[in-house]
Symmetry: C2
Subunit: 211 residues, 2 copies
DNA sequence: TGGTGTGAACAACTTCACAGCG
DNA sequence: CGCTGTGAAGTTGTTCACACCA
């Protein structure tokens, strides 16, 4: 395919396809058409073909896609053919739940470090074996453990200050659970996981009651 | 403004505007232009004016918007001028963290019930005073507590089955934390909060290293 | 004068429809 | 023959630019 910009929505969908292909694999289904996969993923079949076309030609005309092969290719595209090292900042209720969450591990995401500024928490060992470090040691620990993605689960008020420290430590990718708009310079990237926005959307639709 | 369909993205942005207006209010700023608010929210100023125009005329030409008034209007639009009752299903690490999370409360979202199927957990009292109920009592408790929004924090494997029960109990709005595509009939609505999709997106951008 | 509200231009994304290949 | 890959058409959402009004 000709060179062109890849929509962010395509990346999100690839993640979804990947999950569904894994299910298909575990159901011992070896080949699937874009039509069938589309139904399963809740999208249009042309959408799937277009999404894949950004990266190459993975199908066989008249046949469909080999599940195992397509899964491999999508994982390669997304960068999931390696393990990723995560550093968690903020060991509150949410932070603790995240580090205990087995879904991350299954996908190849590893928490290799945890930080807080509460002296009571610093030095404690978490259930996954990681010791809580003082946030002041961020740069040092980042180098030692090779943290690639920062996970921010502090309060809204401190999130930007924490992100600024992550930036200083040259952690280029950040997933933010605090309900604030985070600003980062070019070359850095933030993804927000915002429950309250989602709840607000539900509240809106319940209120304007039109389906 | 003439009648037209409202983009989902508009609703998401309203939620963002609302948050920023609350900050402005606490900074004792009384009036703000779409230009200034736009910078603050990280969007285009025409975008804000368009978004608001779907719902009415809230500004004053030559002046801008009165912060308090606009905040009130946006909250009314989103349906945040009332309290919302949440029912949590799945009292694992994540579920416990969600129910303890004070952000929900501040926004007017109240957990009024919690469910699990683990006999060890059923009957226990949670830190917020809510007793864990048997999931089999869903319909009864739903009526008693007037649950309006279901919060699903079970494993991926059981999420759809749980959602089916929520649908049967006529809980019309669901926020799903399990990494699966949930299917619901018309008239029901699911919002997904999916960490792994966000991580996959970060992994992709770190891998294809072009910023 | 200055900033809103909005039609018109533009840009991005999705779906259609079919040529082309296995 | 069936299903992919893809240009073209269609749809949706965003930004511009300016008339209009406090």
């Amino acid at each position: 395919m000709k060179f062109s910009k890849i929509p962010e929505a395509t990346i999100t969908r690839l993640s979804n396809y990947s999950r569904n292909l894994e299910e298909l694999l575990s159901e011992n289904i070896n080949v699937i058409s874009s039509e069938k996969l589309a139904t399963r993923c809740g999208v249009n079949s042309a959408q799937i073909r277009k999404d894949l076309a950004y990266f190459g030609e993975f199908g066989v005309r008249g046949v469909g896609y080999y599940v195992q092969n397509l899964l491999f290719e999508i994982k390669r595209i997304l960068g999931l053919n390696k393990e990723w090292n995560l550093g968690l900042v903020g060991i509150g209720n949410l932070g603790s739940a995240l580090i205990a969450h087995e879904n991350f591990l299954r996908q190849g995401y590893h928490f290799v470090a945890a930080f807080d500024n509460d002296p009571v928490k610093i030095g404690k060992k978490l259930p996954n074996g990681v010791k809580v470090e003082n946030i002041d040691n961020l740069e040092e620990v980042k180098k030692r453990e090779n943290i690639e993605i920062g996970v921010v689960s502090t309060s809204a008020g401190t999130a930007q200050a924490i992100v600024n420290r992550l930036i200083k430590a040259d952690i280029r990718a950040i997933i933010n659970f605090a309900p604030v708009q985070i600003k980062v310079p070019p070359g850095f990237r933030v993804e927000n996981v915002d429950f309250t926005v989602k709840l607000d959307s539900l509240a809106y639709h319940l209120t304007s009651e039109e389906d």
